[in-house]
Symmetry: C2
Subunit: 434 residues, 2 copies
Amino acid sequence: MTDIQRLSTLDADFQPRLAALLAWDSVSDDLVQQTVAEIIRAIRARGDAALLDYTARFDRWTPATATELELPRARLAQAWQTIPTDQREALELAVARIRAYAEHQKLESWSYREPDGTLLGQQVTPLDRAGLYVPGGKAAYPSSVLMNAIPAKVAGVGELIMVVPTPDGELNELVLAAAHIAGVDRAFAIGGAQAVAALAYGTETIPGVDKIVGPGNIYVATAKRAVYGQVGIDMIAGPSEILVVCDGATDPDWIAMDLFSQAEHDEDAQSILLSWDGGFLERVAASIERLLPTMERRTIIAAALGARGALIQVRDLDDAITVANVIAPEHLELSVADPEAIVGRIRHAGAIFMGRYTAEALGDYCAGPNHVLPTSRTARFSSPLGVYDFQKRSSLIMASRAGAAELSRTASVLARGEGLTAHARSADYRGEAS
Amino acid sequence: MTDIQRLSTLDADFQPRLAALLAWDSVSDDLVQQTVAEIIRAIRARGDAALLDYTARFDRWTPATATELELPRARLAQAWQTIPTDQREALELAVARIRAYAEHQKLESWSYREPDGTLLGQQVTPLDRAGLYVPGGKAAYPSSVLMNAIPAKVAGVGELIMVVPTPDGELNELVLAAAHIAGVDRAFAIGGAQAVAALAYGTETIPGVDKIVGPGNIYVATAKRAVYGQVGIDMIAGPSEILVVCDGATDPDWIAMDLFSQAEHDEDAQSILLSWDGGFLERVAASIERLLPTMERRTIIAAALGARGALIQVRDLDDAITVANVIAPEHLELSVADPEAIVGRIRHAGAIFMGRYTAEALGDYCAGPNHVLPTSRTARFSSPLGVYDFQKRSSLIMASRAGAAELSRTASVLARGEGLTAHARSADYRGEAS
């Protein structure tokens, strides 16, 4: 029997119960913070030597020299050649679709001229160098390599550096194959906070980058937060979440499996179903009971559904949309007859899967959009990872002589109002000369 | 005699000297961190009561109730009516230009359909609510209100909440007037880490927001970093910087004043001049000597130029561009004959001021582009504040029946490769039904 919570928006205590369900505190404890701070200090002070020490200690692997930390491109190509054909074809199709979608996201420079000849605009440029963190061990996902690497390459990043730990020297062939096909330029067999620090500050062997992206454990996440400012980072991801809104006409087994697909990630993952059809909620609950014992990862699924899952009865469609906007989910499935009629009312969601045929799993792997998405209600203010995360803008201003005369008067008045007279005089010089 | 450093790219120790010049560590000390953490805890636990306590303690002002913390819209309108006419006209012109430029930045939703009917795209939405921090006291800049508020309003943010501390009850009329004309929806007379915490978590009186923008002192910056994740933040700004690249044909007094305009902000501000004309560097040095005694803020300017300023001799234009890209400055002036011929080679800069007539001060106030810019070499990976900072994207995926059949096969193979069989079965259901 799965103990999935039942809520109803009609309950008097619905708001606090929903808040409790969604609560997630991403703050690392002091011990993790201190460990990470020490690792970063060591990498900055001792470079490669510290990196080798930590690799021996945490990954139980002792390369003779730092150059052995690099995984040569030929090694990635070899992995690509040796994986099974069906996986190679699946990766190829995924790459093509992810790239085609990413091309639509590319920001372009723009500018305009005013009547007096003054030019204004923004120049868009790619990052020089980006770092991609890929977890080792059980959470090594080739799809994650594609989703992080392809937008960087489409943006035109000069050099893309992947790091992936090899605990006990173990390498994941699918991850290496994905790195090959996604266009990773260099790869290093390092991980943990030490890899993040090496990418942020550079060592004799590891090139320093401008931005670090990719998922990782609490040490990696804490290290990313700590080096933010020295380099850019993508986001600090919380546990994965799915919210399904269903009108009751989708096969309940499909919806149960969609909830499972999120819950199987880890025990903290969150799966929530909203429906105004109370009978449907019961049918999904029955499907959960029946299907759960057949799942390979049933222990994790049961733990996640029990701790953070919920079936929520809402009054009607409007009520469902209101609750969905409060939850601001990472993944939102609109499993309804006419999703296009309501998608415009969704104000906050990382990705919206529209219609009964659009399982989240399709988007996780190969539909095209990125699977790196804002979690823990951060869709209220942030976006999926995209090409735009590997580009940045520089404002362009070129005042004509006449434009400078006009602008200098206004700038001078405002600068004097703020007591900044060097600003005012700098503007005045241009006005007087015009 | 101003002790501004002289460097040359021909010097053997140029690289380490440049690195030392640019070094800036933004990390707050432990005492600041602890104080801020305590303030955030108190605001979360006690809401308005804690906010009133801190306001009494730090701003030496004791409102009878929390509702008195609000500055009514009529109070902002009154400020607008009572400021001098020339300032009102200057603010009006600045608002019109900043808004016109911002309109060019607005992101639009997009989507496309594939031959089998599958729809892919991104839906762009504004933030529901944004918070704008405005410093009190000497650093209260009306221009900063305009630069932060206008992009939010152009983005369509539902409600824009401004906070501004009133130390000893003192209000800056220009700041209130700027808030009025920029369209601030509600304003509260609170500041410091307590205001940031109130905006991030909400209190009985202060509405919780989705993102906090705007400059502040070390307590405000530390609080913003601490609440990042609960809400979005703009950036953690370091000291302001200018890099001028000059071919030697601009009036040296103009360039000296441009360097002053940055240095007058505070003692940590950075002003650097690059030229391949050694005689010109001497002429600018002479202008600095002659003009400095005439400046109202000469003490601050002298301190900043002495501590972090530099005149750098480079070999030629190419060398100047290389060094500029290493510095990745917040503000870059290309004071040369043909800036359009070289601007495409600038890879990293917050804003680029092109030509002899485009003093940075014009851009600081009214040219149109935002003056909130990435500092401390973060232009390598980040962008000026813009409308896009108040919008976010949701991915859209709607698989047709045929599309689901195609995608489900690929998703299933990749999911099984990652050992995620619930993902695979969720995809399989859609494939089987198609």
